[in-house]
Symmetry: C2
Subunit: 232 residues, 2 copies
DNA sequence: CGCACTGTTGAGGTATGTCAAGCTTCGTGG
DNA sequence: CCACGAAGCTTGACATACCTCAACAGTGCG
């Protein structure tokens, strides 16, 4: 997205010096954990979620390679979100002082971090509007498109057929629905020929109609980064 | 929250050189506006919202003095949110290059901005979980507590009685409910003696029970800022 | 004084949840 | 390689939280 200077490249590489592997299903951080490490996701997919006291779960976000994990450790003593590997993953843990040094030495990278957090903010507010004001069908459609598009960022060859990698219960926890109702919405989308399903695969058969049904906005395009400070 | 050096103070003051007044109800930025200005809110209350194509509205956030408005102008050519004054307000507009300079010259302030955006992220994810997984009554209770607590940050003397400054329709747009149902939930909270209402005033009669009903978490306490880089 | 906005209340409808049963898929260990 | 169990999926019947529409009452502003 932004060409880096060798110095910037080196500073980012220092964040990724260590490396840790996670099995599918493993928990990287649990809500209320102390520890305060942050991570860069290198490979795989991670979800972040919270548990409410009635035992229900809300999935907040899905993370893909390049994303910063546990950014809230910048601020809070206790983790605010649980991070769980959805696939086998590798992550690079790093400590807060390293980030402080990066901000000091490389102001343009600090700005890029702010840019990423604004993109994330936009994605969160989209989901907020979806949960507050759209139908179950729209929310399910939105999550299908979003996952496909994020997978496509890492693999531009990806077409309309992809492996979702989520159970219907997980889709429900992300959209604020029950697994049973997610199932019905998927079937309905299938009956309307907007999607098709094969074991493990999701196929978007009418992306135009699906995006319309979902109110989908792509937050990873239409960026304006001309204001970034000069690299150091 | 953090004591500033004179240099930092001066840099922040430069963001606030200009000043603009807004009447209650006025729109500061409309969704899809170009322009790319950002603002610091100096006085008053502002809400940010989005409109969906069926005409419904989702209120994303309420902003109070000191908050950064339109941070998404950092990234997007078109505004992603509408900003509306809930009370008479004064704001200080500033341009992106000024922020770029601030990041370069004052790394610790850059870090503080990141801290604020993490706090905001936490608040957004709390609301996401509330919309996805809690009852109408809990969501209404949560918004009452949140507004009171944010007002109290600016006026520590504020007790359990305060002026909400929102219509029931606005509460509904923030919580993903209809105005009619908000009304019923307020009455129910009143019948259970959790709140009382006088014209224009809201009184929290049993904050303990209300917080419990609302799953409320205060995101403005429990911060850990020891990692911030040294001031320049 | 009148009009627009906000709040209140009731009756009835609908989207989504709950519970329960049976089915498929898949990994594991015998 | 098969058998088994666990996890996920599918479907139906029924329950309910929240919505819609509609009418009216209070409040404040021009």
């Amino acid at each position: 997205m932004v060409p880096l200077t060798p110095g910037e490249r080196a500073a980012l590489d220092r964040l990724e010096e260590r490396e840790r592997s996670l099995r599918r299903g493993a928990t990287l951080v649990r809500e209320k954990d102390h520890g305060g490490e942050m991570f860069v996701l290198r490979k795989g997919t991670v979800m972040s979620s919270v548990l409410l006291d009635d035992g229900s779960r809300q999935i907040l976000r899905f993370m893909f390679p390049g994303d910063l994990l546990a950014g809230s450790a910048l601020v809070y003593r206790e983790a605010t979100e649980t991070l769980t590997a959805l696939t086998d993953c590798t992550v690079s843990p790093f400590e807060r002082p390293l980030l402080a040094k990066l901000i000091t030495d490389h102001p343009r990278l600090a700005a890029v971090i702010m840019v990423y957090s604004q993109i994330e903010r936009a994605a969160l507010t989209d989901r907020l509007a979806a949960l507050g004001r759209t139908s179950a069908k729209a929310r399910v459609a939105a999550i299908l498109i979003e996952i496909r598009n994020r997978q496509r960022m890492m693999n531009p060859a990806l077409g309309s057929s992809f492996v979702l990698g989520l159970t219907q219960e997980e889709i429900g926890d992300a959209t604020g629905l029950t697994a049973v109702h997610v199932n019905r919405m998927l079937r309905q989308l299938e009956e309307e020929h907007l999607i098709a399903r094969e074991t493990g695969r999701m196929i978007l058969k009418d992306e135009r109609a699906l995006s319309r049904a979902a109110n989908y906005v792509d937050r990873y395009t239409g960026l304006d980064l001309a204001w970034l400070p000069d690299p150091r």
